[in-house]
């Protein structure tokens, strides 16, 4: 058996793999999942930026009737739904990182993280509902 120093732990101290050691760690006991999702949604938002900007440009002039028509078209609705999903998830994680960095009072931190969840979920659901309502033409 060869000794593999690159895996960190002293020889013989543990049979756990590097992945096993980081799983479920961190304040939320979810390991590095938020770190990964922050980057996943960041890449998604970067890719969605040009189509989203095109849609906003299309909506600069028209009145509500024409705007509702544009927003209810399938590609526009899907792009906006993807954008809102990625955006609200990204900003929920980002704000939580900021809260955890600067709010040191445990109770205040808990309340802040909770309000952050409420706000982002409200933004996500209200926007999604609006787009679905426009798409269904009710």
């Amino acid at each position: 058996m060869s000794f593999d120093e690159s895996h960190g732990a002293p020889k013989g101290s543990s049979m756990r793999t590097p992945l096993g050691r980081v799983r479920n760690l961190g304040a939320a006991h979810s390991g590095t999942s938020d770190f990964w999702r922050q980057r996943l949604t960041g890449v998604a938002l970067t890719l969605l930026m040009i189509p989203a900007l095109v849609i906003i440009m299309m909506l600069l002039g028209p009145n509500q009737v024409r705007a509702a028509q544009i927003l209810s078209s399938l590609p526009v609705a899907v792009i906006l739904l993807l954008f809102i999903f990625a955006c609200t998830w990204h900003m929920k994680i980002g704000m939580q990182v900021v809260i955890e960095d600067y709010v040191h009072n445990e109770k205040l931190k808990l309340v802040s993280v909770m309000l952050n969840n409420f706000f982002t979920i409200a933004v996500a659901l209200a926007s999604t509902y609006a787009i679905l309502k426009l798409s269904s033409g009710v």
Binding site: R39, G42, V43, L45, T46, M49, L53, M57, L60, G61, N63, Q64, V65, A67, A68, L71, L80, I84, C87, T88, M91, G94, M95, V98, V123, A126, S127, Y129, A130, I131, K133, L134
Partner: protein
């Protein structure tokens, strides 16, 4: 106690957070706009009156810059995540790129916006 020499990358790290927070709050405008579009002509006219006003335009202009800067600054973080761009001249170049690129993209977007009739 300030023990660090203030560097460009440190300052821009704060700006990345600040623009992130501004974008977070600014999603209220996105919600208002979408809900108004789903509500009807009167509600939508209110949004258009606001975004067409001087204050509204300033807010949306600031929002455009925050979005573009945060995106480019974020791409800079992706480059670092992948393990590149850590040499002093490289990280400075990436940071200046995000700073200047954010301003250039913002102006470009507004020129296009006005050109296709957003100026009204």
């Amino acid at each position: 106690m300030q023990v660090y020499r203030w560097t460009l990358t440190m300052a821009l790290s704060i700006v990345h957070r600040a623009t992130g927070i501004a974008l977070y709050v600014g999603t209220l405008l996105l919600v208002w706009w979408l809900v108004a579009a789903a509500s009807g002509p009167a509600a939508y006219a209110n949004v258009q009156a606001f975004t067409g006003s001087i204050i509204g335009r300033l807010i949306v202009f600031g929002y455009t810059w925050a979005l573009m800067h945060h995106m480019l600054s974020g791409i800079r973080h992706f480059v670092w995540d992948l393990g590149y761009g850590f040499k002093p001249n490289e990280r400075e170049a990436l940071t200046w790129g995000a700073l200047i690129g954010g301003i250039v993209l913002t102006v470009l977007i507004w020129i296009i916006g006005y050109a296709i009739g957003g100026g009204r």
